[in-house]
């Protein structure tokens, strides 16, 4: 899905420089190549990380600071989820 459509065939040296598609890369190689990430993928990963921090903070402590942090990361996670969904929705109407 992140592959580009090219009207003209690439020259051999250009094709060799073309980064591998995400499906063809191992997970650790893909995570180590920030240039291949789309905004949607970065947003989805950030959402997972925010959710994990929120859950850890909510389970770790009952003091006001931790709960405030948990609430902040929960809002961030839901916000990022909304962003990713909106972006995917916008992409689905792009052919107009």
């Amino acid at each position: 899905m992140s592959r580009k459509n090219h009207d003209k065939p690439l020259r051999k040296d250009a094709a060799q420089r073309e980064p591998e598609a995400a499906e063809d890369q191992p997970l650790w190689a893909w995570l180590g190549c920030p240039r291949d990430w789309s905004v949607g993928q970065a947003g989805a990963l950030a959402m997972l990380v925010s959710l994990a921090i929120c859950l850890l903070a909510a389970m770790a402590g009952q003091d006001a600071v931790m709960l405030l942090a948990a609430r902040g990361f929960a809002v961030l996670a839901y916000g990022l989820m909304g962003f990713v969904l909106c972006r995917e929705t916008a992409r689905s109407f792009r052919c107009e």
């Binding site: 899905m1 992140s2 995400a22 499906e23 890369q25 191992p26 997970l27 650790w28 893909w30 995570l31 949607g40 993928q41 989805a44 990963l45 997972l48 959710l51 929120c54 859950l55 903070a57 909510a58 389970m59 709960l67 948990a70 609430r71 990361f73 929960a74 839901y78 989820m81 969904l85 995917e88 929705t89 992409r91 689905s92 109407f93 792009r94 052919c95 107009e96």
Partner: protein, 583 residues
Amino acid sequence: MNNADSNQPIGKLASQQWLGALALALTVALFAWMFFADIFAYDDIGCEAIDKPLAVGHVLKAREKGVSLREYMQNDPVWADMKSGDPQGSYAYAGKRFQFEFFASQAPLLGFCYVPFVKLFGVSAAAVTLYSTFFATVTVLLMAWLAWKAFDKWHAIAAVLCVTSSLIWLIHIKAAYAAWMPSACLICGMACCLHLYSTAGRRWALGVAAACLGLLYLTGWLSHVAGFFLLALALLVMRRRTWKTFFTESFFVAAITVVTILVVSAGYAMWARCSFWEIHATMFDDMTNRFSLGGVPMLEKLTFPEKLAYAFRRMFLDSTTADHLDKCLEGSAAIPPLFSFFIVAGAFYAIKNRTAADKLVMLWLVSVFALLGAAMTYTHRYALLGLPAMALLASRGVAGLGSDLRRLNPGAPLGYGLLVGATFGITVISTHHSYFENYLLHKQRDFEVDRARGMGVLTRWIKARYNPDDTLVVYGDPIMFARNFPMFYFFDRPFRFKYWSNDFHSGSTTEQVRAWEQAQLARFRRVVFIFSPVLMGDPRSQSFKNDYRPFIAAHGNRQPDFVHAYEGRPLFFAFEVSRESRP
């Protein structure tokens, strides 16, 4: 592992096929062992599992008599006993309707689903167990089909192993409320249709998905909300098209959903001889009643992230809940750690690869779990709607890691597959052991569990010795002897019954007891008294509302005719008083 390798030697391909066949056979064997081997081992079922089959059984009786459901509910003598003996409990549901009229009208699809089971096996624990087993099996088959079509056979095998070792079976018997297994089945069917629609563009599949959404409304409103989110998100995200096409398809979906709801509910109203409007008023009241009642008090106090953490903890760390009947699931994680690990790994692979099926699985999870964080209450049954998606995601993790290992070393996937397969096998066996050994055979001491325990034993004892035509059964109180248990177990031989606590208490005298007994024996040849040793009231003043001691005093400290104990503690004891035994 998840990519077909066309340049492999023929011999290697054949060995992989044999390996796949062996893995499939072992997976099917584990699933069958889990769901079918000890299927009738346990005849004490959750109290909420009783309601729907009992209501359907009475609908069938009303049809036999050729009267309307309302007329039947108003005139049946055992229902009258229930209404007079426990008026608070009998009218406890939404809109202050009579409880079983509510159950018969609400969620009409479940009524239709239960009919073949009730006709074949009667109103019995076997009918409840087989109903749950049937829909659980269909759910797993649909999920496996989706995994096979969307990914490959290894994904299907891994997904079935994940599901078999987890929550689905916990819900299966422990809290077998009628709605959730068919709901999981329908949402799985909807996902299969949406996969066909998003990959092959088949409009008929979108129509079937819309019909599934309509049927979800007829099983319960919460599952309908989750299904609505899934269908709406799939329509918005899964295919590239113009606004005009989007609105046309949305109209098509809405029309089919509404028509399905109207046709099925009208069909049920005709079949069950109840009002079409009553069905929809009942379902609407059920939904609004939930909002007006609010949630569980303990959860109401939690903040938004704490609710999320609560749901997470109940799901992945310790399934003990603070409030509901699902607390019978205590002791271990609802989702085993191995399954949880692969869910996280699978999420990374889904974000990396972003195939249409990956998107569908992620949207499915968002539809179910985005609601849970803000839920007024959390029970494991809600999460059952997302369980197939979690298994699909975990299968993505299993197969993705295998595929990556092959890049490092072509021989590695075989060892990895054997290791993962063996670990899943151990997890399934451990889950089976936790349930059948720790729960069924050595259940922990718990008020909720104890008061449902042994009802099958009690009713078998009564049915073997007494005749419903000349025997009155007197239960100690409606809390320890919940009203729906005798109605369920005595469905085929309905005994008239009363509650002792309605007429007597700690201050009652011997004369009062004897006079009451005399009045009952004028109508019935025998009266069977069943008491629980658990006394409810104030121990300091020795005032208990279900105190059986006046009965003992009136009968000269006689020994019980029947005692049922569990692990050394008596659960209930029974006395028989007959005309012949009276002086």
